[in-house]
């Protein structure tokens, strides 16, 4: 798309959510937003896209063509507040930002020689320019993108002589597992500092004594409660490993009502689609909604969502091109399923299972099927019921429980009830079943 050639393209996930940088957190979503370079009409404006404000970038996403462009916030020189005048009351509200650009007028390619004013036109009726501007200003002021660089430097320092007296740090939003990790790290750094101060001179130690006792107690508790986790603290390498591991289960920037506003469910829906891909693969293409709820919330860490929100997010998958779908079985059980996943494969497996001698004799229970298919019994039962609906199986309800048998009704001949064809399932069943009855 040539229209956005003056901005750097940004990567999107399969479901159309922005791929975030390390430590990047989404702060606000606005729909129907234009980006224009008013002073330079040669640059084609970007029309009617989704604007995402993150802690590091401004992202403009075209949902139809699944393309996105970004304006790194470190290139923003100034943000002009939205103008208030009678004239502007009728036009769409605008927020202008001045960004540095390269000589050719390209934004985002490093520190540029010239600058460019980008007009952000908020066309969605509900978008409040004041709150957007407020949020933008907040993000700009926090300079989160610098924090990441800073931390890397600090990590290097820490290996040598422990934490230095780094400049007072700006906090990024504390969300997700990474948020907890960050908080934890900050706590440890401050602990480290107080240790150093304490040993600096004895007087200080006296004054810090109380604090030290409390700290020692706390450390002891921590060691007792999770010696494995604590041991990692000894070596930075394994600590890093654990952090990576935690991050792999965690969602760095969970979509929240605060950041996404009216677009909450839509964004949540996309994030969920990205998230379930891995668990789905592991579960063989289908996973119960309840399990997804647990996994998703565990990954989100602090920003938990309600079951209602999850259901709504799944329900709107239909509208977007995502590789997963919500499926409701006749019994009411809801699952998330890969669109590519077909029932045929499962039916074949069930048919094979039901024709084994043991199954011919005793039938199959949902737990038998669960073992063979490697899925949860509740899901296995749904598959069995589905197979029954297809005429592959039929049920047997007895005091022993609910079992399924391979469907032999097709083989029975009502015109000659004694007929057993020499070949086929009826014969196979008859020869195995006969041993049960006579024994």
């Amino acid at each position: 798309m040539a229209a956005g050639a003056w901005l750097a393209p940004a990567a999107l996930t399969a479901s159309g959510r922005p791929v975030l940088l390390a430590g990047e957190v989404e702060r606000l979503f606005l729909s129907s937003v234009d980006l224009e370079a008013e002073e330079n009409p040669t640059l084609a404006p970007l029309r009617s896209g989704l604007l995402a404000l993150t802690s590091h970038r401004l992202l403009w996403i075209n949902e139809a063509s699944r393309s996105a462009y970004s304006v790194p916030l470190d290139t923003v020189i100034h943000a002009f507040p939205p103008k208030k005048s009678i004239k502007n009351m009728f036009a769409s509200p605008r927020v202008r930002i001045q960004v540095s650009a390269s000589q050719e007028g390209k934004v985002g390619g490093g520190r540029g020689a010239t600058s460019l004013v980008i007009t952000i036109v908020l066309r969605g009726g509900k978008n409040d320019p004041e709150s957007f501007y407020g949020r933008l200003w907040e993000v700009l002021k926090s300079r989160s993108w610098e924090v990441e660089e800073l931390k890397e430097k600090e990590n290097l320092q820490m290996q040598g002589l422990g934490a230095g007296e780094g400049p007072s740090r700006v906090r990024t939003a504390v969300v997700g597992v990474s948020g907890i990790l960050r908080k934890e790290q900050e706590m440890w750094e401050s602990t480290d500092k107080s240790l150093q101060e304490a040993f600096h001179d004895l007087n200080a130690l006296m004054s810090k004594a109380k604090e030290m006792v409390a700290l020692a107690e706390k450390m002891r508790q921590k060691l007792l409660s999770g010696s494995a986790a604590q041991a990692n603290d000894e070596e930075l390498g394994s600590k890093q490993e654990m952090q990576d591991w935690l991050l792999s289960v965690g969602i760095v920037s969970p979509v929240t009502k605060e950041s996404a506003g009216a677009l909450y469910h839509q964004q949540l829906c996309r994030q969920l689609a990205d998230f379930v891909k891995l668990p789905l693969e592991k579960a063989g293409g289908m996973i119960a909604l309840i399990d997804v709820y647990c996994l998703f919330n565990r990954a989100r860490g602090t920003e938990l969502i309600s079951p209602e929100d999850l259901l709504q997010a799944c329900a709107i998958w239909e509208k977007y091109e995502v590789p997963v779908m919500l499926r409701k079985f006749d019994s009411g059980v809801m699952v998330i399923q890969n669109k590519a996943q077909s029932d045929e494969e499962i039916f074949t497996k069930i048919a094979d299972l039901s024709q084994k001698p043991d199954s011919l004799k005793m039938g199959i229970s949902p737990s038998d099927a669960a073992l063979t298919l490697g899925i949860a019994p509740a899901l296995a039962k749904e598959h069995l019921l589905n197979a029954e609906g297809k005429g592959l199986l039929c049920r047997d309800v007895s005091p022993d429980g609910f079992r399924f048998y391979v469907n032999l009704f097709k083989e029975f001949d009502p015109n000659d009830i004694y007929l057993v064809k020499d070949e086929g399932l009826y014969k196979a069943w008859e020869s195995t079943a006969a041993t049960v009855v006579t024994s």
Partner: protein, 179 residues
């Protein structure tokens, strides 16, 4: 091969799902069909005319596989026979069912054939003779349900092939055939 008295049971009688009412339409249709057939064949061979839903009916349970029909499924299978004219409910509460493995018309035809074969045209028989007399021994008529027999005879009377009259004793009726 499993037997019920002297009746030979089909193999599928040991198929457990045969005793559970199948919810899937196609499967259920086949199941109902098989039950209808088995009930008729069994009743005919054992000369059973009425099946009570609350009484023990040997066909409705299979001790060998420990399965028996639920009340609901009995009603379904018998109702299927009723809707085909092969059975009739004997009471409004649908607790007893008259099984017509031959329809009344078939019975009437059978009686006429019997009469012709035995040279009983213009002869007289009592109803009780037909049910348990020497003449009918070994035929389907032996042990026929009295109600069914009377209905067949009345059908013949309507066609002018028989005349029913009260006998000298009040508890028996006579039939004069005029084939």
């Amino acid at each position: 091969m499993q037997k019920l008295g002297d009746f030979r049971l089909p193999h599928f009688f040991n198929y457990p799902p045969y005793f559970t009412l199948q919810p899937v339409r196609e499967t259920r249709e086949k199941q109902v069909q098989l039950w209808k057939e088995l009930i008729l064949v069994y009743c005919r061979s054992q000369k059973i005319f009425s099946v009570g839903l609350e009484e023990d009916f040997p066909l409705f349970s299979n001790p060998a596989i420990e399965r028996c029909l639920s009340h609901e499924s009995k009603v379904v299978f018998l109702s299927a026979l009723v809707s085909e004219g092969r059975a009739e409910w004997m009471d409004k509460s649908h607790k007893k069912c008259l099984v017509l493995w031959l329809s009344i018309q078939d019975w009437a035809d059978y009686i006429i054939n019997f009469v012709k074969e035995n040279g009983l045209e213009d002869g007289v028989m009592t109803v009780e003779d037909i049910r348990s007399g020497i003449e009918t021994r070994g035929t389907e008529l032996a042990g026929i349900d009295r109600g069914v027999l009377m209905r067949a005879l009345k059908l013949l009377e309507q066609k002018g092939k028989a005349a029913i009259f009260k006998g000298s004793s009040t508890d028996d009726e006579g039939v004069k055939f005029s084939a």
